[in-house]
Amino acid sequence: MISKFFTFCLGFCFAIGLGISQMTRPQKILAFLDLLGNWDPSLLVVMIGAIGVYFPLQKCILGSFPKGENTFLLPKGEISYRLFIGSAIFGIGWGIVGFCPGPSITSLASAHPKVILFFFGLILGMLSYVYIPKNSKESDL
């Protein structure tokens, strides 16, 4: 129960991080993705900040547990055609709306009808990949 509460708190903090950096606003994302407009590199700085903190911390966390005793569920990092095609499809969707999954959840709190519509599309897209193709295989990310 305690860990569930902490997990809730981490989601909350994650959302605050998105909000402070305005990643909850698709206009801000699109200002980075649209290279010919009034280019705004803020998204790049968010990624540098996040990876810059995550990289050393994950090394400490994974290293602090004795080998063979860890319970980490890490992805295999398989490189297949799915990785390329899937990421390209995601990229096209992201470029159309300016939302990736995380910010769309936090921005649902705005009750903006188009955000809700995006969220329904997101779920439909996920379900159609998981249930329709027979060879669907999910990675852990």
Partner: protein, 144 residues
């Protein structure tokens, strides 16, 4: 460049990185949002764990709406049908590619996975091409 907000971007990024690292420490998992949403809608065994994180993310949004409403000042100038279609592509693509900006972009790249670096390069590249074409030539440049 006049809307560039480097300090708030760095602060937000650090908080995102810290939360993701805490997730690895606490639950031994990659903090991938698309995977969590998928767990929730497919009734995967991680349902509870993912559900609490996502509930936290939504509650964070409600909190932001009260203390920092600018974060939720959202403008989407494209037609609804295109928004829905974009959502389908993001949902389908993140599942097929095994991750999104958080799972591949932050955690996977931060762990040095070659697959995540490839995925991040591919989705950023396609997103840039799509957004530049759609917004610069059809909708009008976004004003953040």
């Amino acid at each position: 460049m006049e809307t560039f907000t480097p300090f708030s971007a760095l602060a937000g990024g650090v908080i995102i990185g810290l939360s993701s690292a805490a997730m690895l420490y606490l639950n031994g998992r990659i903090c991938g949002i698309s995977g969590m949403v998928s767990d929730l809608v497919t009734f995967h065994k991680n349902l509870w764990w993912s559900g609490f994180f996502l509930l936290g993310m939504f509650s964070g949004g409600v909190f932001l709406r009260i203390i920092y409403p600018f974060a939720l000042d959202i403008e989407i100038p494209i037609p609804s049908i295109l928004v829905f279609f974009g959502g389908i592509l993001v949902g389908f693509g993140t599942r097929m590619g095994g991750g999104c900006t958080s799972g591949h972009g932050v955690c996977g790249v931060g762990m040095g996975y070659k697959a995540s670096m490839i995925a991040t390069f591919v989705f950023v590249f396609f997103a840039m091409m799509t957004a530049t074409l759609l917004y610069h030539f059809f909708v009008g440049d976004p004003r953040p």
